[in-house]
Symmetry: C2
Subunit: 254 residues, 2 copies
Amino acid sequence: MEKLSKIGRYEFLAEPFHCDFSNHLFMGHLGNHLLNAADFHSNDRGYGMNYLNTVNKTWVLSRLAIEVMDMPKAYDKFFVETWVDSALRSFTSRNFKIVGESGHVYGYGKSVWAMIDLDTRHPADILAVRGGLITEYIETEYPCPIEKSSRVKLLVGATPIRSIDTYYNDVDINGHINSVKYIEHVLDLWDVAWYKQHCIKRFEIAYVAESHQGDRLHFYREGRDSDTDFNVRITKSNRDSAEVEVCRCRVQFV
Amino acid sequence: MEKLSKIGRYEFLAEPFHCDFSNHLFMGHLGNHLLNAADFHSNDRGYGMNYLNTVNKTWVLSRLAIEVMDMPKAYDKFFVETWVDSALRSFTSRNFKIVGESGHVYGYGKSVWAMIDLDTRHPADILAVRGGLITEYIETEYPCPIEKSSRVKLLVGATPIRSIDTYYNDVDINGHINSVKYIEHVLDLWDVAWYKQHCIKRFEIAYVAESHQGDRLHFYREGRDSDTDFNVRITKSNRDSAEVEVCRCRVQFV
């Protein structure tokens, strides 16, 4: 395999049917494009899902933070640049930059990934894959000037503001609820009237446990210091189990 | 504008996170790609949304039928070919062919579109736009060997098998529930266990009325002659109105 640059750059289009009422790309679809870019970048360099599946391992997204100044509009072409800025035994950290054709910066992203063994579901040693191949692609100089994910404090004693069922279209190749679907479900907690007055500035999500089709998801929301800054906690329940935490999020609007 | 060919051809990728548990593209995402292709094709030729919006008109999807032999798998590149095969004053009919890189035919689609005036919401005369420009691009020879949409008989007296609320992410640029979201909600009526035994052969949808965020959607399902052939009817209700029909669908599995 020819040695590629550390930073990958992938072109996307803000598809008209992926845009909200204001003609701007939905945050969930932007999240999907970041995950695609991560997937393309790691596959191109030999440590992506395509290789990992042959050795019975996979990447698991642990945290994702996206911070935007504005969002691409319908038909805008844009690029997602992505690079790994650290790789440890248990976790790697991957950054994103979202740029327009003329160099306009829409925003940035930061993510944390673990690797697991597909049989045991236990963490795998990232540095043991292909003799630590990933460490040949660490890029620490290219700026990603947003804060890391914060620790979202656990909400206790609240009542869920919404509970929903999960269906066929929520489930990904691994049989789990798709990471992007959580983003959409969380952002659906605010209605169109709210989005007419507010834009998302920053979205953070920490994935705590997996959920499966048929699980019922419960959403808890709590305001933080300002009235445009929220914590959201998602739990799951099903016939066989009590409520278990699935995700914690923070959503900041302007 | 340079005169383009009658048939447009657009490349898409079956993105990994747009695939179901079996690693095949979700039908909803395929539907979205067909709508994208229709949009690109009509914009490129001067009678698309981009032009229509400047004269206060828009296209409205009235019917869509998709029939597939199989579905693209994750990372497959494929092409959607699309062409208009008839244009009348009130309706145009547009066909689709879904082909792989090596020429493999995944399936076909047929659709019917109306044009409306954005102020009155009344039908507009398609042939009056740009002096009947669309009629210069009618292609009637290229085969699309699937049946037209059938008339789905109205279901009466049934109880809905599911009712769901609609949220921010369901709403498109026109402020209506996105056409593709109905496809997803309908296909969610069957669970993963069903899809492990059955593939979608044909999906038909007729859009009867628009719905808006906050409307509650009700799904009625009725078996047809075989146990893999179903009619689905969607209605909406909200605080101010009784139940009104929104869509009628037919889903055939194999």
